[in-house]
Symmetry: C2
Subunit: 531 residues, 2 copies
């Protein structure tokens, strides 16, 4: 890199760059230590004078819309990931921009997926300068190998809202894939052949971006209700044949794990929640859409049924397991950030108790509170956890960046944060001396449930007390670690990484929590421009 | 006034002040002529660090909440008017602030009502400096008599959003009366003993104000759904016994006019809409909640039924007449800014096709379009209209300011704008040579329907052509004027007004359209501070 990178130790003891992609950074100062200054991002004032009184904002093509947005070199183009691995629109927009000759673009997706590896040639050719956003799979691997010209910047869902709202990232053109839209730009994800449920990840983009293009394959007459995105924030609407591959957008159904170990982890997690007294009438919880999380939800539902306990709300990512809870009356509401299967998509489209949320309501740390800290129990995964309960979700122990943060960091403020994880994967221990990449500070992680026992963070004496008389397999984390190391033949190897930073992990407040280091040869890594 | 007021002629030929309440003004430049510059108002960045992780933002009293908001002299305190003449919260907040010793406050209601004349003593005592917002009845009369220290500023619903969004008015503390709220501050108007339907008028306040207090008499467990106002924008929640007088908040039922003249106006308006070809399949209309408007809606419904024509949407203010249309299938949606009777309140709380709107979606002229210009037909009232179709809705011909603008100005961009008005009231002609106060430029007003005939603006040759062969009583406006003057014994008297401005009428783009002049003695009028 021609930009010399100054590294400092932050409050977590991690070496982090003081400047990323031409912008000064604040190193992590500790949980709750940093206080933001100043005012929110202020988008330009527009006027109805410049928009058609008929409300018809359609443009004949994405190219025409990008031209009308004033596309030029170096712009920040954003997209959302509600269509997951089925999304066709982000690639369509960036490939169109490249065809139009734009260079050095910053792609700012809410997350990227393996299918979007088709964009690697645009990174190679210089049309895309770098990506800020979760990079799942091949793009993360590409980044870790030092091949991206700028640094990757990994943010949580809430951190992305925070960065946009606080003006850290100014979006020039937001391109919003919409399963249903009207010609005014009102749109939602609830209906249509490419239905994905909510569009919450695109909400910040629609509010704060300079220009907003809605791309749809399902134009409906005004008004498109519900208007998850307001047409009043939209500049142009483009119709295309298809915005995504339905099979890759949502699962037909989501399935519970069949692994006996994972089932045990899920069951022990549910038992812990029950026996620690967290499963109270009116409580709330959040679990993901992975096989273990689904099994946890099913086990907990059964325990709630037996104990006649009803939740006030459960948080999505939603699946048919949450939808069944809602229908059965085991919860009053689903507060939902994304919908993972067809049952969930149908439910959010038709049941007013299944409420779409956004990173603003759920996760933004620079708001007047957020929902995440009101959740009683959250069950999460991790790629690694250390003896101080610090956890990693973005890299593997070989140093490769293969996962995004999602809402993971944001959820850590729940009343009780539980990592439900196997103690080893592919004979590599998950409980380590020091995590490869720090994504969540240990002081926010309360419980680690593995198939070999449940470790409670010593900071949570209340939880230790609550389960003292239970028959749950409570054990010190160090004891589980030793047992696993004996099975796996020792501690995991240190990753063979260079001293060259290729990406940073932001904390929920916008400070730099940790660095992802290049793995392998550095030769192809070149300069980041001042931006 | 010690501030000398410079007056200039604006593009409508009206004398307007160049400075109001210490702020420079842009005179009206013509419809669609002014283009805003710069960026939107940017509220301060907050942090979850400063809000309780439990989400419980309750304060023991309004006084405690105002103190926590840093109440001090000269602040701008805002309120909404969804509780109409039944609202108790605005007075409660201002009287509390006065008791706490705050002086020179600017009260910024979305509208004020006769019951709020209880605040006149606070204007007299100097606790309230002046009011910017619609002043219906006694407060408007008080202003017209030159007794308010600052100038009144009248804005449309859309103009109020525009002024807040554009930073023309910076709200220090928004006080939001909420018929249902949770302790996090999520709230709505749909449920509770003080239910009023929507809370759209408070949305801008919640987004842009420095501090936001929610006051409720119906605290529900988190989450309060629907969250018309997001708790993420709220600082404090205060519980009180009662936020309003239900009998004054909504009518039990709204009633059609029984006046034969008004019924004729309503019927001729509906016939015009039908016979001019505006009542097409998929069309849209907006009419108010007054007796004539309700009769129009009833007549038009009958014509739609006969012709088997279905609207795509109708705009509220909603009443049981619109609700019946929705239930009967005469419209796909109600897009609703406020709910006027109990049937409408029940409908918006339970029917997803009855959609709450806000001044942002409906009326903000400084957005990327708004809904108002997508409406095919709007039926409005007026206190006066001149031969050039210029209209007045705020003053009477005696010069007294007695009405707010509401959404009236914003609606003028509809496909066909119809004023449905009697040709005279109390033997005073309504059609005049020159309106007392210009509120809507004639080029935007297409049709005037009176009991003595229908006048079409000559600019609308298309409408003249459309009804050429109909049996509608189409007449030149001058002919109706002459006939009415003959009946009333001449033109109305010019108001006995001074040369001292007491209020200004803003156009939808924030420019100054006209001035309201003091009526009677000027002695009590004192200085406006620089602000």
């Amino acid at each position: 890199m021609t930009e010399s990178v100054e590294l400092v130790l932050n409050a977590a003891g991690r070496r982090v760059p003081t400047r990323v992609n031409g912008k000064d950074q604040t190193p992590f100062q500790g949980v709750g230590a940093y206080r933001p200054q100043g005012a929110k991002q202020a988008p330009p004032i527009r006027s109805c004078v410049d928009y058609p009184p008929s409300g018809d904002k359609r443009m004949p093509s994405l190219e025409a819309a990008l031209r009308a947005c004033g596309l030029r070199d170096g712009m920040v183009i954003s997209s959302h990931h509600h269509l997951r691995n089925g999304d066709l629109v982000a690639a369509m927009a960036l490939e169109t921009a490249a065809r139009m000759g734009a260079r050095d673009l910053m792609w700012f997706p809410s997350a990227s997926f393996p299918a979007q590896a088709v964009l690697i040639p645009l990174l190679e050719s210089g049309h895309i300068h770098h990506i800020e956003g979760s990079m799942n799979g091949p793009l993360g691997d590409y980044c870790t190998r030092g091949k991206m010209r700028g640094m990757g910047v990994l943010r949580s869902h809430g951190g992305r809202w925070q960065a946009i709202q606080d003006g850290e990232v100014k979006i020039d053109i937001a391109v919003i894939a919409a399963p249903a839209a009207d010609c005014f730009g009102n749109c939602n994800g609830a209906f249509g052949k490419s239905a994905c449920g909510s569009l919450g990840f695109a909400l910040a983009d629609s509010i704060y971006a300079d220009r907003v293009i809605v791309v749809t394959d399902n134009l409906v007459p005004f008004p498109c209700i519900p208007w998850q995105i307001y047409g009043n924030n939209v500049d142009f609407v483009v119709e295309v044949d298809s915005i995504g591959d339905p099979a890759q957008i949502v699962s037909g159904t989501t399935e519970i794990t069949r692994s006996p170990d994972r089932l045990k982890i899920a069951q022990d997690t549910a038992r812990f929640v029950r026996d620690a007294g967290l499963m109270r009438p009116g409580f709330s919880f959040q679990a993901g859409s992975g096989g273990t999380s689904l099994a946890f939800t099913a086990f907990l539902s059964e325990m709630m049924r037996e104990a006649k306990v009803k939740a006030r709300f459960v948080r999505g990512g939603s699946t048919r397991y949450l939808v069944e809870m809602l229908r059965e009356g085991l919860t009053d509401y689903i507060l939902d950030g994304q919908t993972f299967d067809l049952d969930a998509v149908r439910s959010i489209a038709s049941d007013p108790r299944h409420v779409a949320t956004s990173p603003f309501t759920s996760y933004n740390f620079h708001g007047k509170g957020n929902i995440a800290s009101l959740v009683d129990v959250v069950v999460l995964g991790a790629t690694e956890v250390d003896r101080h309960f610090n956890a990693n979700v973005v890299t593997h122990s070989d140093g490769r960046l293969l996962h995004g943060i999602g809402g993971w960091q944001n959820c850590l403020t729940a009343g009780c944060t539980i990592l439900a994880i196997p103690s080893f994967r592919d004979r590599i221990p998950i409980i380590v001396d020091e995590v490869t990449t720090l994504t969540g500070p240990g002081e926010l992680i309360d419980v680690v449930v593995t198939e070999r026992g449940i470790a409670i963070n010593p900071r949570r004496q209340d939880l230790l007390d609550a389960v003292r008389t239970s028959d749950l397999p409570i054990r010190p984390i160090e004891e589980i670690q030793k047992e696993v190391e004996a099975i796996c033949g020792g501690k995991p190897q240190k990753p063979a990484r260079t001293d060259c930073p290729v990406a940073v992990v932001k904390w929920v407040d916008g400070t730099v929590l940790d660095t992802v280091w290049q793995v392998g040869c550095a030769a192809e890594h070149s300069a980041a421009p001042e931006g």
